[in-house]
Amino acid sequence: MSEDSVAEIRDLRVEVGGRALVDGVSLRVPPGKVVALVGASGSGKTTTGLALLGEYPAGARVSGEVRRAPGAVGYVPQHPGAVLHPALRVGVLLRDIARAHGRDRDDLRQALADARLPEGEALLRRYPHQLSGGQQQRIVLAQALLPRPRVVVADEPTTGQDPETKRQIAERFAAVAARGIAVVLLSHDLDVVRALADEVLVMRAGRVVESGPAERLWRAPRHEWTRRLLDAEGVPPADGVGRGVGGVLPVGGGGVGRGVGGVLPVGGGGVGCGVGGVLPVDGGGVGCGAEGVPPVEGGGMGCGVDGIPPADGDGIGRPVLEVRDLTAVHGRTPVLRVPRLVLRAGECLAVVGRSGSGKTTLGRCLAGLHRHHDGTVLLDGVPLPRSLRHRDRERLAAVQYVFQDARAAFDEHRPVLDQVARTAVRLRGADAHAARAEALDTLARLGLTGDLPHRRPGALSGGELQRAALARALLARPRVLVCDEITSGLDTVTRRALLDLLAGLPADRPGLSLVLITHDPQTARLAQRTVVVEAGHVTERAPGPLTVCCEVGHKGSRVKSLEGSEAVVRRLGRHRRTRRCP
């Protein structure tokens, strides 16, 4: 190993069943530097990252060299849910790590703070399932930082985080690197990469297609694929969602910036979220008043809300799903209050908010997965059974939910294709053969081709599974599709394609309503309306493209988070530079 690297991979090839997951990858990680791996979903980032830890898929044939300096390694896995023991309070492992590495309580507290878990100590007493996706991710991050490792391999450490938290985490990583710790960052989040990376490797189909110092790479990407990756970022959906809803393009004319480029993604004006031109904010739109505040709506709570034009032929515009007086609890703690929320046919609703604010809980309430709640969820004006166990096929099919943790939501014993196809069989009565064909087709449209669908979930990458999970829900031909962070594991190009697909859906399936729970501005931009969840309260609403950028954490402010993070990044950059050259 070279003197100045804490970890090194040379010419790594990992082969499973004759297929190379990773081929010819070389990589050097100098201390105090951030080496980022970017690339398409399924391109081999996780495989490479795990190789650094000396771990390979079962039955893999490995060649090449992997070296690591002795000492602790931190690892932030892509699916934190899988590595958190379901029956142990999250504090147990953290304390064990602290003990194993001679860290004391203060160090632990520090690690929690570094991982942006200020309320950490209270969370330590919780079981993993009592944490939100983002909180789980920050817990594993804290685990990684706690032993003061020589190198941290962070696989998508920011996917589940809201922009503000993401910014803070990025800041922490910078600080960590500044302490001389090497960071291997595997990420789709180019903002974070851009903000942190000293060196970037771009991967595709198991190979490193381009690598080099970050600045150079951003400035002058050489490889075609890199360029596509960078270009795809921030490009608006190829086609407006609005098309289905009265032909109004939802995206403002203003070029949606390449995030960091400083261009604000603020839509120009014509945000066509309304149905038939009516902005949903007024009338019977999104009735998300604060607690106790009666819905801003004129005409009572009925579904045929006044002020909304009658539905057109397809029923588009008619409220499909309505939430009334919903209070969801975990144990005895109320975690979500929604006095009123209406979702219309053909509409796309984004749900944004800080990590742990209750977005997933909202989605699960709609889907009948979280039955501990008061209030009602109405489908076509008829209350839906609280638990999906009591929903019949039709109603199950009507409201589908795509799980935030795709890996946990699959049966690890059966091939993905079988599982995806079952939806059509069970919920639509399709015959097995047709269901398989349809599943294959849908999966292919999501970029999952070849033998991939025939593998078991364990042999799929995070992003691939995420898409499979979406396919599974789509096969139900739902009327309401709740997508919980379905783009978090996708590279810009794939995400783009996926969003295009989603955007195109209403065309194929008139009346399909989407609820997109997301932290990703680009994804949220797909929506005509945005709901902000803050600390369990649905506190803000505004036309889609605007709110996405809201920094929710700051009361009332509408600072664009991306800009904010950009600012931070710049500042960080300076900071680091100064630190390095005293």
Partner: protein, 264 residues
């Protein structure tokens, strides 16, 4: 390695199984009785507690063991698995209590006593005995199933399967049971042995098989007094039973290991 395990388990189980299944074909007619617990005199494994040829009894005595024990175990599981799964998968507390608490009542009565008491009230016959032994095993097995399935039943994968409208059976059997398979196999393998001896003790108490039936477990039990005079009458059937149950368990292990390997 895995193959080696299969071979080991297979070998250990093959002898008793072959004897059990084919033995009766070779048993031939009963010879005259001799003194009980005699050695020699044309009986190459000696005689048993009533002076019959042990080898002939061994040849005859496997089938009932294998059939009754397997049937009773299988039967017990046939009830216990659905009950345990239902309890694990339901949200309705009352349903779980309704399923499990009455079974707990059965647990408080020692199984032999239960068999004795029920059998004394009405002679159940061999089939009835298998049922009874199965029944005695249900509460116990159901609890293990419930415990083993509990964790798997609360995984998001199950939620996802429900979301897909999967039938209860499919969720329960193809996912939850499969996740708990290793534990269930271990339990079943052990239960098999317990059942075997329960049947034989019951026979001695006058339930089911005749107390001098040709049955390995009955032989072990009834010939025990002669252990020091004529050990073969106990040792041979006992070794066969040991082989049978150990072999079955090792085969389970091997099969699961292979599967585990195929998966990960």
């Amino acid at each position: 390695m895995s193959r080696g395990r299969f071979v080991l388990g297979g070998l250990v189980v093959a002898v008793p199984l072959a004897l059990a299944l084919l033995g009766p074909l070779f048993a031939g007619p009963p010879g005259p009785r001799s003194v009980s617990f005699a050695l020699g005199e044309g009986h190459w494994l000696g005689t048993d507690f009533v002076g019959r040829d042990v080898w002939r009894q061994v040849l005859l005595g496997g089938r009932t063991v294998v059939v009754t024990a397997l049937a009773a175990t299988a039967l017990g599981y046939l009830v216990a698995v659905p009950v345990g799964l239902l309890a694990a998968l339901t949200h309705a507390r009352w349903l779980e209590e309704l399923l499990m608490r009455p079974l707990d009542v059965l647990l408080a009565v020692p199984s032999l006593l239960l068999i004795l008491l029920v059998a004394a009230a009405a002679d159940p016959g061999p089939v009835g005995l298998a049922l009874l032994v199965a029944l005695v095993n249900v509460p116990d097995a159901a609890r293990i199933v419930r415990a083993a399935a509990g964790e798997a039943a609360s995984r998001p994968a199950v939620e996802a399967l429900r979301m897909q409208g999967e039938s209860w059976w499919r969720v329960a059997v193809s996912y939850v049971t499969r996740s708990a398979l290793r534990t269930l196999a271990a339990d079943a393998g052990i239960r098999l042995t317990g059942v075997l001896y329960l049947v034989s003790t019951a026979a001695f108490l006058g339930v089911g098989a005749a107390p001098d039936a040709a049955d390995w477990a009955v032989m072990v039990d009834r010939n025990r007094t002669g252990l020091f005079v004529q050990p073969w009458a106990v040792v041979v059937p006992a070794v066969l039973i040991v082989g049978l149950t150990t072999g079955v368990n090792l085969l389970f292990d091997a099969a699961l290991e292979k599967k585990g390997r195929a998966r990960s």
